[in-house]
């Protein structure tokens, strides 16, 4: 069942002087099935962040359309877009984007508070989640008091707490050391195995190897994809690395 459909997305950034725009995305096409864990890989400037911004409704495409279920994203009105983002999407960012003036608990609860859920409901949802993520003992700490890995786990908890249709992750391991990265990827894998759909943008072959499918993007186009199938991450990483190596030479 197609869950998210990305159709002929094109994005051109025009400068203020209006001369010639920069084409960030040329023609991006792919579909996400429910329960998939997709990694989008590409070098800097390949357009992967632009793509993610369009998927997260933070930016809009110049041409083409993205459907979440049956709903085209461009049809969401400005007023509803915040609610849509809050209720249907979960975000994990490279630099965590936790608020320093909130405890981890309050950071995680933020989307629920914005949706005006009752305190009872919040607490009920929170407890099993943080226990699964191993941050239950840190709930009353502030972000600057915990490690990077712990911060990112709190951010994952914030993304999951609304039970979103899809999690969008932007280089989630980008600011973490290798051990924390591995730990985070195992958590994401676990979340995925529980049925959560995830779309992650990453540089790291190691991180991508945990996903079920990898899309390679270059010059604003998806030019290659790999399915993991039943492969172990350690085996899958080899095929990913090979693809990257080939792509860096310029041709598939």
């Amino acid at each position: 069942m197609t869950f998210m459909d990305v159709k002929h997305i094109k994005k051109i950034y025009t400068s203020k002087l209006g001369s010639k725009g920069t084409e960030a995305l040329k023609d991006v096409n792919f579909a996400v099935e429910k329960g998939e864990f997709i990694s989008v890989m590409g070098e800097s400037g390949s357009g992967k962040t632009t793509l993610l911004n369009i998927l997260s409704t933070l930016d809009s495409a110049t041409e083409g359309e993205v459907y979440l279920g049956d709903q085209p994203l461009s049809s969401i009105k400005d007023k509803e877009v915040s609610r849509f983002r809050r209720e249907q999407l979960g975000f994990v960012f490279q630099d965590f984007n936790l608020l320093d003036n909130f405890t981890l608990k309050d950071n995680i609860l933020l989307p629920l508070v914005l949706s005006r859920k009752s305190v009872d409901e919040m607490e009920k949802t929170l407890q099993p989640l943080v226990e699964r993520l191993g941050i239950a003992h840190l709930l009353h700490n502030y972000p600057y008091e915990v490690s990077g890995g712990q911060k990112q786990r709190a951010a994952v908890a914030r993304a999951l707490i609304t039970q979103p249709k899809i999690i969008l992750a932007d280089e989630p391991t980008g600011a973490l050391d290798s051990k924390s990265s591995q730990n985070l990827m195992e958590i994401l894998q676990d979340v995925h195995q529980n049925g959560q759909t995830i779309l992650m943008v990453t540089h790291s072959a190691r991180a991508a190897s945990y996903s079920s499918r990898v899309l390679f993007i270059r010059d604003g186009q998806v030019y290659h994809e790999l399915y993991r199938g039943q492969k172990d991450p350690d085996v899958f990483i080899d095929s990913i690395s090979k693809s990257l190596l080939v792509s860096s030479k310029g041709r598939v």
């Binding site: 933070l58 007023k79 877009v81 915040s82 609610r83 983002r85 809050r86 209720e87 975000f91 960012f93 984007n97 936790l98 608020l99 320093d100 003036n101 909130f102 309050d106 609860l109 933020l110 989307p111 508070v113 914005l114 005006r116 305190v119 919040m122 502030y142 972000p143 600057y144 914030r158």
Partner: protein, 663 residues
């Protein structure tokens, strides 16, 4: 060559950071200007010559403004440095040594602060002169107020601000020197710790504020009020600072603990935001509150003084013409009466010669004693005795009392009519020099005597006859022979159809000069005093409005800077929340309620302080002969409302600034 490289770099930095430097320079310039104007007033002729209390009042005012300047410049500087840490960290990473960075900071500081001080002084001198011109034109006082630029005070201002800027520079250099580049690079983003609540400071704040309020409420003597006023002011200022810094955190934390209230979009965003920044902003809020109180008190008292000038005149001079009669310690009340009556008939004669008719003529004889109530005995003493201010006792004979009072009384041999404003002093009987009298109470003094009760509320004793008065005086004088008391009298009259004129007053003055009555005479006309009073009270009004303006500028400055710095601080937080799904509507609601609190808190505090300052200020006004409460109450209410309106406009403008930065 090297120097020119660094100065070029410094200049480029300032230009590149102009968004931060504009408010910074503006704030510095205005602080310098405000202090310069305030300090210049200390050397103003009017301030120095009109009243003994005025110079010390202005010294305290200047000191307060000076302290505010130090706090404010440091606050503004810390905000600037926080924004620039990243840039400075980058220099180190790019290979500049710390002493090079320090040199750049020195050059930048010299440029910006030098320019700010020079511009500020210029603004101070010009604005001071212009506003004096404008106020003189606006108020149209009989005597225009002169403004003198005091070069001495200008120099002092320059010196003060050079020291403040040097201190901030040293602080900045120390910060750069003692931290490593990586931390500086992260600088602006580094999380600040949640402020700790300190119940001890909170309690001290409460006590200090309570003590200040208590002094104001319980003070009963305007003569000592001037000193106690300063103590009360100091206590209230300390209390305000402590309560804002400690109290706000305690309250916010308590609100946060109330889960059902806290976990809603509005409170969730605003309480956490306020708690986070309270540490720095509490001081700003306290400053705004105190400046607001100063504006309100300065303007409302001086407006009351000016508007109450007629009342002052009516209290001092019950009729248009007033003659004070002074005797020596030998003269009996009977002789005094005869003398007054002959003066009276002489005056009538002179008046009718000049074509005037005297009306409403009356006089009363009295003597003023100082004493202390011990049980039901009134013991007399000399005025200079002891640190406690003694009771003032006015003694007058029944005939004279009946001339003044609305309801005449009859007293027999052993009776005294008795009035006291203090219910604790009420007695049934009273012993004077071993003789015990029965007291008959009255509720009020005759209105004519209002002019005598400006400083202290006196006790009034009315004797049944003249001889009792004489006996009392003789007994008093034989007991305290060194400081004899004498009888006095006041004689009042008006003219038919209010035909009073300067010529008449001059004529009376002259005719009294050439007489040889056995008493001293001192004549004053209400009209003759009017201009004098209006020019003095007008001068006060002038100063009040000028000071009100200065303090308002100060409050505006702090509000403006607070909104801008908060805007920059909140910008990132709001952006993150919007990424996670905070909509614009809720953003607006939350920031509005947050700004609204920041707005109403200082103005409410100011109103509360004013309410508690009311009794003490009202008693100080009595020094100037303002006895009616209505005028002062209405003026204060009016000024509070007017000031709230001005502050509201400021708030509207600055909160727009805030929202434009945040969004």
């Amino acid at each position: 060559m090297k120097i020119s490289f660094f100065s070029k770099m410094a200049w480029r930095n300032i230009k590149a950071n102009r968004k931060l430097y504009y408010p910074y320079s503006l704030s510095s310039i205005l602080s310098v200007a405000v202090f310069q104007m305030m300090a210049s007033l200390m050397t103003n002729d009017f301030v120095r010559q009109r009243s003994a209390a005025l110079p010390s009042l202005f010294e305290v005012g200047t000191l307060v403004i000076g302290v505010f300047s130090v706090i404010f410049i440091f606050y503004v500087n810390s905000f600037l440095m926080k924004r620039r840490k990243k840039e400075i960290g980058l220099y180190s990473v790019l290979g500049l040594e710390k002493r090079h960075v320090a040199r750049i900071l020195v050059i930048e500081n010299v440029m910006v602060s030098g320019l700010s001080i020079l511009t500020g002084l210029l603004v101070g001198v010009l604005f001071g002169r212009l506003s004096f011109l404008f106020l003189n034109y606006l108020l149209d006082l009989p005597n225009a107020m002169g403004y003198s630029t005091s070069w001495e005070m200008t120099g002092m201002t320059a010196l003060l601000f050079i020291s403040i800027f040097t201190l901030t520079l040293l602080y900045n250099i120390a910060q750069v020197t003692f931290s490593n580049p990586i931390r500086l690079l992260k600088g602006g983003k580094e999380g600040e710790k949640e402020p700790k609540s300190s119940p001890i400071l909170f309690v001290i704040g409460l006590l200090s504020l309570g003590a200040g309020y208590y002094i104001s409420l319980t003070i009963d003597n305007p003569i000592s009020a001037v000193n106690q006023f300063f103590i009360a002011v100091l206590l209230v200022i300390i209390g305000t600072y402590l309560l804002y810094t400690a109290g706000s955190i305690i309250i916010l934390k308590a609100l946060k603990r109330n889960k059902a209230f806290y976990y809603k979009p509005g409170p969730f965003i605003s309480i956490s935001g306020m708690l986070y920044r309270m540490k720095q902003h509490a001081v700003g809020l306290a400053n705004i509150s105190i400046l607001s109180v100063m504006v309100i008190i300065a303007v409302s008292t001086t407006v009351t003084l000016y508007a109450g000038t007629e009342e002052t005149l009516n209290n001092r001079f019950p009729e248009e013409n007033n003659l004070s009669v002074m005797t020596d310690e030998e003269m009996s009340s009977r002789e005094l009466k005869e003398t007054i009556e002959s003066v009276q008939s002489d005056l009538n004669e002179i008046s009718s010669e000049e074509g005037y008719t005297m009306t409403d003529q009356y006089y009363f004889r009295y003597m003023t004693l100082w004493g202390e109530m011990e049980g039901s005995t009134l013991a007399f003493q000399d005025f200079q005795g002891g640190s406690e201010i003694p009771l003032m006792v006015l003694v007058m004979p029944m005939d004279d009392y009946n001339r003044l009072a609305e309801e005449p009384v009859t007293l027999s041999g052993n009776d005294l009519l008795f009035y006291t404003p203090d219910p604790d002093l009420n007695r049934d009987s009273l012993t004077l020099f071993d003789k015990t009298f029965d007291l008959k109470q009255i509720n009020d003094m005759p209105g004519v005597m209002n002019g005598m009760s400006q400083l202290i509320d006196p006790i009034l004793l009315v004797t049944p006859d003249d001889s009792t008065l004489d006996t009392l005086r003789n007994q008093r004088n034989s007991e305290l022979a060194e400081y004899p008391v004498t009888l006095s009298a006041d004689f009042f009259w008006s003219l038919e159809n209010s035909q009073n004129s300067t010529e008449y007053a001059t004529r009376i003055q002259e005719s009294l000069r050439d007489t040889d009555y056995p008493v001293g005479l001192f004549y004053e006309s209400r009209d003759g005093n009017r201009e004098d009073w209006y020019s003095t009270n007008g001068g006060f009004l002038f100063l009040g409005i000028f000071l009100g303006g200065l303090f308002t500028i100060g409050a505006v400055l702090i509000t403006y800077y607070k909104q801008i710095s908060e805007g920059y601080e909140d910008k990132e937080r709001i952006q993150i929340m919007q990424k996670v799904g905070l909509d614009k509507e809720t953003t607006r609601q939350a920031t509005h309620s947050q700004i609204l609190w920041m707005f109403t808190l200082p103005i409410l505090t100011a109103a509360l302080h004013t309410a508690f300052a009311y009794p003490i200020v009202q008693k100080m006004l009595m020094l100037f002969g303002i006895t009616s409460n209505t005028l002062f109450t209405l003026t204060t209410l009016g000024v509070v409302m007017g000031y709230s309106l001005i502050y509201w406009i400021i708030y509207r403008v600055t909160s727009k600034l805030y929202l434009s930065i945040v969004e």
